[in-house]
């Protein structure tokens, strides 16, 4: 397979912050909102360069979402950001009514998603956000895998007219996708072509899937590895084309199995092209305190878990 390498590890939230600054320079209609976590969501540079377009609303997530919807009526493109749990679960009704149902051009940017928040524990570890967001009609849901891709995705969603949920995280992870890549919303990225099994991974699990693929290919198992950075709209064609070749599926995500990427894919396959599937995801549980790496291992979200899931699904073919 193609060798994937990286020169440094970077956090995806910095990809968001750097892109936001770039957008701010290019487009005076970009406004940024946060709820007392400007530093954590990497908005400090934007705030410094464009203080008049930066709104730290205080600890008021509901008010922030409403304000973001209001800004769109004046032709602004609001990027609202705080931790994934607080910008989804806490304000679901506000997003549903004022953003999604009202079809507003609001970018909901969620940092600190998933177990990799680590020590803060379950209150801060959003594992249900993708499900909540993908259930809203018209909402685009994106979960990029590294710094470069998050940066590209942030630039791309500014061009998309309509509500978007962009999910990223805190830990420094391998930055392996190309710099200045073109990000196409809804277009999956094939990382390796193979014929025995399809692995569909999203977010931080993409790198883990690459490591698993390397091990599997070394054992002679041919893996079709696809990065599904856009959960919704799902790239149905890419998924179906892959599964028609392989006939076996593993999905991998830092999210509850219920409501996640795996569920979207199994929903598609069950109606179009049924195939055995294994889910690498959190199995209907809350997280807990620990380091990100410890938690990803404990909850079965690492390369080894993906490797084992492939072995299991191949036995079901």
């Amino acid at each position: 397979m193609k060798k994937y390498t990286y020169t440094e590890k970077k956090d995806t939230r910095s990809g968001f912050g750097d892109a936001l600054t770039e957008l701010g320079k290019k487009n005076k209609n970009i406004v940024a909102l946060t709820a007392d976590v400007a530093g954590s969501v990497k908005m400090n540079e934007f705030a410094k360069l464009f203080p008049e377009r930066f709104f730290d609303v205080g600890i008021q997530e509901a008010n922030m979402i409403g304000m973001a919807a209001g800004f769109t009526l004046e032709g602004k493109i609001p990027f609202a950001s705080t931790f994934a749990e607080f910008i989804t679960g806490r304000v679901y009704d506000q997003i549903r009514q004022a953003v999604a149902y009202s079809e507003k051009n609001v970018k909901i940017c969620a940092s600190h998603a998933g177990l990799t928040v680590g020590e803060d524990g379950a209150t801060h570890q959003a594992l249900e956000d993708l499900g909540m967001m993908k259930m809203l009609p018209g909402m685009v849901v994106i979960n990029p895998c590294d710094y470069n891709q998050t940066k590209a995705a942030t630039l791309a969603i500014a061009e998309h007219k309509g509500p978007v949920y962009l999910r990223f995280g805190r830990p420094k992870v391998p930055n392996f996708t190309p710099e200045n890549q073109k990000f196409e919303i809804g277009k999956a990225v094939v990382l390796n072509e193979g014929k025995d099994v399809s692995i569909f991974a999203t977010g931080h699990l993409v790198w883990e899937a690459i490591k698993a693929t390397e091990k599997l290919e070394a054992e002679g198992i041919s893996v079709d590895l696809i990065n599904i950075h856009t959960i919704k709209p799902l790239d149905k064609k890419a998924v179906l084309n892959s599964v028609k070749k392989t006939g076996a599926v593993v999905t991998a995500e830092e999210h509850n199995r219920l409501g996640g990427l795996g569920e979207s894919i199994s929903g598609l396959l069950s109606s179009e092209y049924p195939a055995p599937q294994e889910f690498v995801a959190v199995n209907d549980k809350f997280g807990e305190s620990g380091t990100g790496d410890e938690l990803m291992k404990k909850y079965g979200l690492d390369a080894e878990s993906i490797y084992q899931a492939v072995k299991k699904v191949l036995n079901r073919k």
Binding site: A62, G66, L73, Y101
Partner: protein, 280 residues
């Protein structure tokens, strides 16, 4: 333009007929705010474009309805003001209508810029519009309407705190102060206490409109509110109204919040309301 005094009785006729027709909807708060809507849309709002409505609000005074359930008065006012044909009022709450039970942008009804219905959100939306106008150097104002019961929602107080602290002075928020909500009197369900003192404590200007069902008083009060804008503070208007105003057997009775009139009640109501501009 039509004599403004002819508008309220006609809007009231529209309200009770719309609600009676589908045996659902919210006549109480609608009837109580007829003078407010008339004043706002026929006298106060500057540069609105009923025939050329755009979803973006730049360049005009902007109204956000936060207590979305009072669609009967909202739709009737918009239609009578020329946003869409008056005949369309007959589709209220029916399958395939643009006149949804609660306001929606989904079906492209002119006049609606944001969905409401789930309470407590409109003030936050208005803050976004107001700050957007400031960025655009647009000196138009943002008006909102809220139910008094709606002020029990926590999000309202997030927005009240924010507006006062940040001095959002191109915002005029009106509270329909009728002391009525679904389960009873606001004072009994969850009292708002000294509402005027609360707004003042949050750094707002407050205008009391003692008779919110007197058109001249409402126009005068809203003009006073406008004069207070632009001076570093948001402005709250406490609009003292009676739920169900204009129909004797409905007046001041919270049970008319969300109940339709039966045939006999409709007949009785219409007798009290002259058909000034022609029924839809």
């Amino acid at each position: 333009m039509t004599d403004i005094n002819k508008i309220p009785p006609q809007i009231r006729r529209d309200i009770v007929r719309m609600v009676h027709d589908v045996q659902s909807g919210h006549p109480g708060g609608s009837l109580g705010t007829v003078e407010f809507f008339t004043a706002l849309f026929f006298e106060i709002l500057r540069d609105i474009q009923p025939e050329n409505f755009k979803i973006e609000s730049t360049g005009e005074d902007t109204f956000i309805l936060s207590n979305g359930h009072i669609t009967p008065v909202y739709y009737s006012t918009l239609a009578r003001r020329g946003f869409f044909p008056v005949s369309e009022l007959s589709s209220f709450r029916k399958l395939g209508s643009r006149l949804q039970g609660h306001p929606s942008t989904h079906d492209g009804l002119p006049g609606i810029r944001i969905a409401s219905g789930s309470l407590g959100q409109g003030l936050s939306v208005a803050l976004g519009v107001a700050q957007g106008k400031k960025l655009n150097l647009d000196n138009h104002l943002v008006y909102t309407l809220h139910g008094d019961g709606e002020l029990q929602e926590g999000q309202i107080w997030e927005a009240v705190l924010y507006a006062g602290a940040k001095g959002i002075d191109n915002l005029i928020a009106t509270v329909d102060y009728n002391n009525a909500q679904i389960d009873g009197k606001v004072d009994d369900v969850l009292s708002l206490g000294d509402l005027k003192a609360k707004f003042k404590a949050f750094n707002w200007e407050v205008v009391d409109i003692r008779n919110g069902n007197d058109l001249d008083a409402v126009i005068k009060g809203l003009k006073e509110a406008k004069n207070l804008s632009g001076k570093g503070k948001p402005v709250a208007v406490l609009l003292h109204t009676k739920m169900g105003f204009g129909i004797d057997f409905m007046e001041g009775d919270y049970r008319w919040h969300g109940k339709a009139l039966n045939d006999e009640q409709l007949e009785k109501a219409l007798k009290q309301l002259p058909e000034t501009l022609g029924d839809y």
